[in-house]
């Protein structure tokens, strides 16, 4: 366990080193910060003063170190386009993205689990085959196209749901939530559904595969021999042991949901991190891009480590082998 954690720490440190070098290289070589801040009409003297103030003429190693030093304290400089501290911009977008991804994850579990259980229990039924076929289609649906289709149906045609934005939000301390207002909830339905479609199919396939494995084991046959009702066997004996891998995979999926939220946020103009990243990328707002990359790296590292730890806790066999790396399960 300790060896595993140590390896994860080394891996995490390496990832952060590479990503911070990348982020630094972006700020050093892409775009001209002086021109971005002063605009095109600045005098040469102003430029020289700013270059000195930003330490742009120092050797790059010392600039990299000061970049990292500031980043650790959450200082990523000012956004070129918004003229506000990057960290504020990023932090105020976090709730929107996490709520979107969290609700999408809840959707995919609530729908995917029962479908998977059904397909496993009635595996000889034609409907189970149909469900599996549908799941291939579900995995194939690009979330942004699903989003567009939903908008077409429910906003343009039926006019039931808002097509963009987050609706009214409520401030709870430093967190803003859209879960407490009607307009917030109606705005959330379509983006979350678009994001969840692929995950529903994935979860259903996973649950079915795991459940089939469990249903073959001796203790299930023993439970049948004892004359327990199929319902009890399926739900309280089999499903419980199926849930462990499902929980860990959900963790990985949360990471992917956050990644794909970028695309869905663009479709629905959802004011989250993904939209911020895309806007920054479009206007070459380097400080925002750098901050996004570093924060995303930390986020994915934490998620991957938690998932691996859960695996270790859930499956003692892995402790002997020394853990597996789960990142990039797709």
């Amino acid at each position: 366990m300790i060896a595993f954690l140590a390896r994860r720490l080394v891996h995490g440190a390496l990832v952060l080193l590479v990503v911070s070098l990348l982020a630094f290289a972006l700020s050093a070589f892409v775009g001209d910060p002086v021109a971005s801040i002063l605009g095109l009409n600045a005098t040469p003297e102003d430029r020289v003063v700013l270059r000195e103030r930003l330490n742009l003429d120092d050797p790059w190693a010392s600039r990299y170190l000061s970049f990292v030093g500031k980043a650790v304290q959450g200082e990523f400089g000012m956004s070129y386009s918004a003229q506000r501290p990057v960290i504020d911009l990023v932090l105020e977008r976090v709730p929107a993205t996490l709520e979107l991804a969290g609700v999408a994850l809840a959707f995919s579990l609530l729908i995917g689990l029962p479908i998977g259980v059904y397909a496993a229990v009635f595996r000889h039924n034609w409907s189970s085959g149909a469900v599996m076929m549908l799941s291939v289609i579900g995995v194939s649906l690009p979330s942004f196209v699903v989003g567009i289709l939903l908008i077409f149906l429910f906003s343009v045609r039926l006019g039931w749901l808002p097509s963009f934005g987050r609706g009214e939000v409520v401030d709870i301390g430093w967190w803003t939530t859209g879960l407490l207002t009607v307009s917030g909830l109606t705005s959330l339905i379509m983006p979350a559904a678009a994001l969840a479609v692929g995950q529903v199919a994935l979860i259903a396939r996973l649950v079915r595969a795991e459940m089939l494995e469990v249903l073959r084991t001796d203790y299930i046959r023993f439970a049948r021999a004892r004359g327990l009702k199929p319902r009890v066997i399926n739900l309280s004996h089999a499903l419980r042991n199926t849930l462990i891998p499902v929980i860990t995979v959900s963790g990985i999926q949360l990471g992917f949901l956050v990644a794909f939220a970028i695309v869905v946020e663009a479709v629905f103009q959802w004011p989250g991190l993904g939209l911020l990243f895309l806007q920054a990328l479009g206007s070459t707002d380097v400080p925002v891009i750098s901050a996004f990359l570093l924060l995303a790296a930390c986020f994915f590292l934490v998620i991957n480590t938690i998932v691996d730890l859960l695996y270790l806790v859930a499956d003692p066999r892995l402790r002997v082998r020394g853990g597996l790396s789960s990142e990039g399960a797709l």
Binding site: V136, L141, F260, I262, F300, G328
Partner: protein
Amino acid sequence: MSGDVMSDAVPTASSRSALRRIWRSDLAVSFRRNPGAIVGGAILFLLAAGALLAPWVAATDPYDLATLSLLDSRLPPIWLDGGVWPYLLGTDTQGADLLSLILYGMRTSLLVGLAAVALSCTLGSALGLIAGYFGGRVGGVIMRAADIQFTFPAIILALLIGGIAQAVLPASLQATFALPVVVMALGLSHWPHFARLVRGGVLVEKKKDYVAAARLAGRGSVSIMVRQLLPNVMNVIFVLATLDVAFAVMGEATLSFLGFGLPPTEPSLGTLIRSGYSYLFAGEWWLVIFPGLTLMLVIVAINLVGDWLRDALNPRLQ
């Protein structure tokens, strides 16, 4: 894991014709028993044929501006009021036939998809072969690089590459380099999948006697890797490459939709969806819905075929 799966199921095949051998092979039998594969294969065949033959099947050439007429612009699909033959799916704001645009767009999408997979597959397989065969420090560095890249979902990386390329390239060159940039962005973001898979296969294969025999026969490392090991991990590479085409086509569409892929002048399914999306609320819904549905169909078909290949060639990957 060996290549035997693909070979003939019937041992004495010398007297039978080649066609019949193919018909009776394990692969063909499993194809006939898999309705998903048949449906997917048929759709894929039709779509690919339409894309390849676009200059001959399409009703109009959407790039021949001389044939476009603004009088024909914004026509709805033919089954709606106001639809006009031969514009089956309607026309765009320039008067170009949407179905023709989709056929031509699919060409670009499939081309980008195949090129991106060729890149990630070649790069990843080569690095995976080296990492698996030599191991040690070289292999460690390669797999460490793959691990680091795996930390990020591929789509973020592809977006980053596309976005940076746009920022760095001067505006005059962007249109020229858009296609290679997208191929690079998608190819470079997916090589670790191939590297990991091939390395795993090589680690198993290289312990086998035939590799030792080749070594004793005095073959060099490169020869062993390419002529002995590669053919034996080809099955897994092939399955992943098939499924990866779906990822790459979707990736191109995603990048182009978000504005970091191909420019509007280079029609692909993604750019069609992007330019059509702005008309969704204006009433010309067909401009975004049909390219979107086509994209879905392409990806579903590839995945159906890929799923069958995975089951047929390599049950362990399921």
